[in-house]
């Protein structure tokens, strides 16, 4: 309990991951779903950083940088889609995002 091992980080990561998954599955607001995805990505990052520290290998940190870059790209495009969708249908309810064209 007092000695913190990568196992703890992994469990923390897994728990955060699960919270993210619940968010994606349960919420309807697309924006909150996107935020849940950010949580999932963060869970992964925690794992990577913890292992990078443990293994004394910078690859983990490098990957975190990439993940952040990807998250930025995802946020930009995803939010762009949300805005476009909102303009059309005035809703951000995921249940209504079913038509593929408008």
């Amino acid at each position: 309990m007092l000695e913190i091992t990568p196992l703890h980080y992994s469990l923390l990561s897994a728990a955060l991951f699960m919270i993210g998954v619940i968010g994606v599955l349960v919420r309807r607001n697309v924006i909150i779903i996107f935020m849940s995805i950010e949580l999932i990505l963060n869970a992964v990052n925690i794992n990577l950083i913890a292992l990078s520290d443990r293994l004394q290998d910078l690859a983990g940190q490098v990957f975190v940088v990439f993940v952040i870059a990807v998250a930025a790209a995802e946020a930009a495009v995803g939010l762009g889609i949300i805005i476009a969708f909102y303009r059309n249908k005035e809703t951000v309810n995921i249940d209504e995002i079913q038509i593929m064209r408008w």
Binding site: N29, M35, L39, F66, I68, A72, V77, L79
Partner: protein
């Protein structure tokens, strides 16, 4: 001892805020919790000797991406959250159960891997059989900004360039999507 206190505090806060993010009624509150969550994750990175990543986490994630979220939440200024006009419990249980299953699976895998190399594990964990396990004495990756730069621009140059291309594409895509009249 100190490390443990920090870790447990942070872990509890991070998870608690994570729950708040997905359970907050107002989307703006969600974003707010998300920011604090990311800041705490950044603190966690600092305890793991990853200052540069921590700063990037704050700068890009908390200062950039989440602001974007906030922006969109305000733009899509809804009187009622989508949950209000649909049955909220329709898939809530399924979703939670499903996520629980995922968690169980992940934990099982973690424990399986731990027990599989329990024999060689000094501190109990991964990679005890990797060559890096022995070189943990020196703080190789503390104050690592310069090293990180080296690695990023040498071994990971192509992924780095790819990431920049990705960002460029995403930028153009976002503008195309969001701009009304091009």
């Amino acid at each position: 001892m100190a490390e443990a206190i920090v870790f447990w505090t942070l872990a509890v806060l991070i998870l608690g805020l994570g729950v708040m993010v997905i359970s907050a009624r107002s989307a703006v509150h969600s974003v707010l919790f998300l920011v604090v969550n990311f800041l705490l994750v950044a603190v966690l990175y600092v305890t793991l000797n990853a200052e540069f990543v921590a700063v990037i986490q704050v700068l890009v994630y908390a200062g950039g991406i989440v602001v974007l979220y906030l922006f969109v939440v305000m733009l899509v200024n809804l009187k009622k959250a989508p949950e209000r006009y649909a049955d909220p419990r329709r898939i809530a249980w399924t979703g939670t159960l499903l996520a629980g299953a995922v968690l169980a699976e992940v934990i099982a895998i973690v424990y399986a891997s731990v027990s599989s190399d329990e024999a060689g594990a000094a501190g109990g964990g991964f990679g005890a059989d990797t060559p890096f396990a022995e070189c943990g004495a020196g703080p190789l990756v503390s104050c690592n900004t310069e090293q990180l730069g080296w690695v990023l621009y040498t071994s990971y140059l192509i992924p780095f360039e790819l990431a920049s291309m990705l960002l460029l594409v995403a930028m153009v895509g976002a503008i195309v999507l969001a701009k009304r009249h091009l």
